[in-house]
């Protein structure tokens, strides 16, 4: 808010106008920076195979929906989409259930092993998943978790956990301890105080952390391709061989993968920015 306030009350009018142009220009430029590549993907997606491999390329598609239709009619896409949603949803819930208590503990207590735990959580992202997939798959085959929604969701939860812990840690850190203490003096026990006072405050932020988990699960390919067969998720199902596919299908496949994620982020954008608690003003 500060910069805006500053701008509105700018010291020198000329300088302020100049600032405004730079400001607007920068915002527009950055929007283009994000949007143009996606637009180009869509151009290729909605072009005929000849145009996709032609040169020079037109920046306006001739609207050929053949490639997209191929994917929509591709046997199993619906089921894979459903699997993806199931896995991502379970991942969301598990990562919050395991991550939020840890985040709370990190924010409220000083205890031995705190730093070790933080580094350990981060390590999961620093070791390549493809190598972990082999022992995990052996374990799953032995205990019967192989090819289940739950099994894959557990692995995805492991990937999402650092985000869940870090985000909830910041959330709880943003809420004054005094608020909780006040509730205790009013006769609540620790748990009641948490549920009645803290939880409502952090809920939007928790949702944000859940969204991260969803996106991570949605985009994960390798573990999904190894650990599921009947229950393959959309990326694992479509991305197999996408690198080898003819150009027009490669781009259409990319779009099929990107669009649901965009839609999802659009639907939940409100929560996304509330993850540090009270950010969304």
């Amino acid at each position: 808010m500060s910069t805006a306030a500053k701008m509105a009350t700018g010291n020198v009018t000329g300088k302020s106008a100049w600032h405004k142009y730079v400001f607007t220009g920068a915002v527009i430029l950055l929007c283009l920076w994000v949007l143009v590549p996606i637009y180009l993907l869509l151009v290729n997606t909605f072009s005929s195979p000849e145009d996709v491999s032609g040169f020079p390329k037109s920046f306006i598609p001739n609207i050929d929906t053949g490639s997209v239709e191929f994917f929509l009619n591709y046997a199993g896409v619906g089921q894979a989409l459903w699997s993806s949603i199931k896995v991502a949803t379970v991942t969301m819930i598990l990562s919050i259930m395991a991550g939020a208590p840890a985040g709370y503990a990190l924010s409220r207590f000083e205890f031995r092993g705190k730093e070790t735990f933080r580094v350990l959580v981060l390590m999961t992202r620093a070791f390549p998943l493809p190598l972990l997939a082999l022992p995990l798959a052996v374990m799953y085959l032995r205990i019967g978790l192989d090819d289940t929604v739950l099994g894959l969701a557990l692995v995805h939860t492991m990937l999402a956990l650092p985000f869940a812990v870090l985000i909830t840690f910041s959330l709880f850190s943003g809420i004054p301890v005094e608020l909780e203490e006040a509730a205790w003096t009013l006769g609540c026990n620790r748990f009641q105080a948490f549920v009645k006072v803290i939880l409502p405050l952090v809920l939007p932020g928790i949702t944000a952390s859940a969204i991260f988990a969803f996106v991570i699960s949605w985009n994960e390919v390798f573990a999904a391709a190894v650990l599921t067969i009947e229950n393959r998720t959309l990326p694992a199902f479509l991305l197999q061989g996408l690198g080898n596919a003819p150009l027009h299908l490669k781009f259409a496949g990319g779009a099929v993968l990107v669009l649901p994620a965009l839609l999802f982020i659009f639907l939940v954008r409100k929560y996304l920015f509330s993850m540090w608690g009270i950010a969304n003003r």
Partner: protein
């Protein structure tokens, strides 16, 4: 005592998770890097890795990429976050647009940027349309390592700045408005407000953002393969090669441990460099 055990109780679910789904497979994989087929401890696999002619190139490239990408991303995200905070209308929409890449996987990002940079891609189409070039330029050819590197840096910045942005925007929202109001009263310039209030108060978020980005930067893979082909060996690519083409999981594990060690080193460095003194937390 109840409250002394409480933190450990709260950490229990997450820890159990990490032990079963990370530590257990991790130990099995790491074991392979140290123990030979006959069951003896050996440094043979690390030697094989380190003396392979591609190792140094892969290590250097990975570092150079992280070095080129991460600082720029942090700066860009800081700038974007400041812009967003100074916005009166349309804040939600702009934020949504800027966070779109959050949902885009590295595979999809590789496909998108290949469409731009390949010889018959959009960039060449535009340059030719503008009359800048006579015929398409091969940006991604093996002699043009510089442009390949630049293309990868651009694609990575495009793809992964959003996560830094989200963390920083949220962190900025936590800084009490009163601080800025007070600064206004004393006539502090905007730059001064930024360096004296925003940056110090943003430390915890900056720390989180940097650690996450650095770790993910060392694992960069799909974008590099899409744009660089075999021209730019990187550590993750070597892990894949050793594991799946050369079928030597011991050397692959050694590589993975190198990635892990680098990541931990940087994490500790950032934690230490951006530590918040006790009692100074908001």
């Amino acid at each position: 005592m109840y409250s002394r055990n409480l933190p450990y109780l709260l950490l229990l679910p997450a820890t159990l998770f990490l032990c079963i789904f990370f530590l257990y497979p991790f130990v099995l994989v790491a074991w392979q890097a140290f123990v030979s087929d006959t069951g003896e401890f050996t440094s043979e696999y690390f030697m094989e890795m380190a003396t392979h002619w591609k190792f140094n190139t892969a290590l250097t490239n990975t570092f150079m990429l992280a070095l080129a990408v991460v600082p720029f991303q942090i700066a860009l995200a800081l700038y974007m976050a400041t812009l967003v905070n100074g916005m009166k209308r349309g804040r939600d929409l702009i934020l949504y647009v800027w966070t779109i890449p959050l949902g885009i996987s590295d595979l999809a990002a590789g496909i998108i940027w290949l469409a731009i940079f390949e010889q018959t891609g959009f960039l060449n189409s535009m340059l030719q349309g503008l009359g800048v070039i006579e015929q398409p330029v091969g940006f991604l050819g093996y002699q043009s390592k510089g442009t390949i590197f630049l293309a990868i840096v651009l694609a990575e910045i495009w793809r992964a700045t959003a996560i830094v942005l989200v963390i920083l925007v949220a962190g900025m929202g936590l800084i009490p408005k009163e601080y800025y109001e007070a600064a206004e009263v004393f006539g502090a310039s905007r730059w001064k407000q930024f360096t004296r209030i925003t940056l110090p108060m943003l430390k915890p978020s900056l720390q989180t953002a940097m650690i996450l980005r650095v770790i993910l930067a060392f694992e960069v893979f799909a974008v590099v393969v899409a744009l660089g082909g075999t021209n730019l060996p990187i550590l993750m690519g070597e892990i894949y090669t050793w594991q799946y083409d050369l079928r030597d999981s011991s050397v692959a594990a050694a590589y993975a441990l190198v990635v892990l060690a680098i990541s931990i080193a940087f994490t500790l460095l950032i934690m230490w460099g951006l530590r918040t003194p006790k009692g100074a937390r908001v």
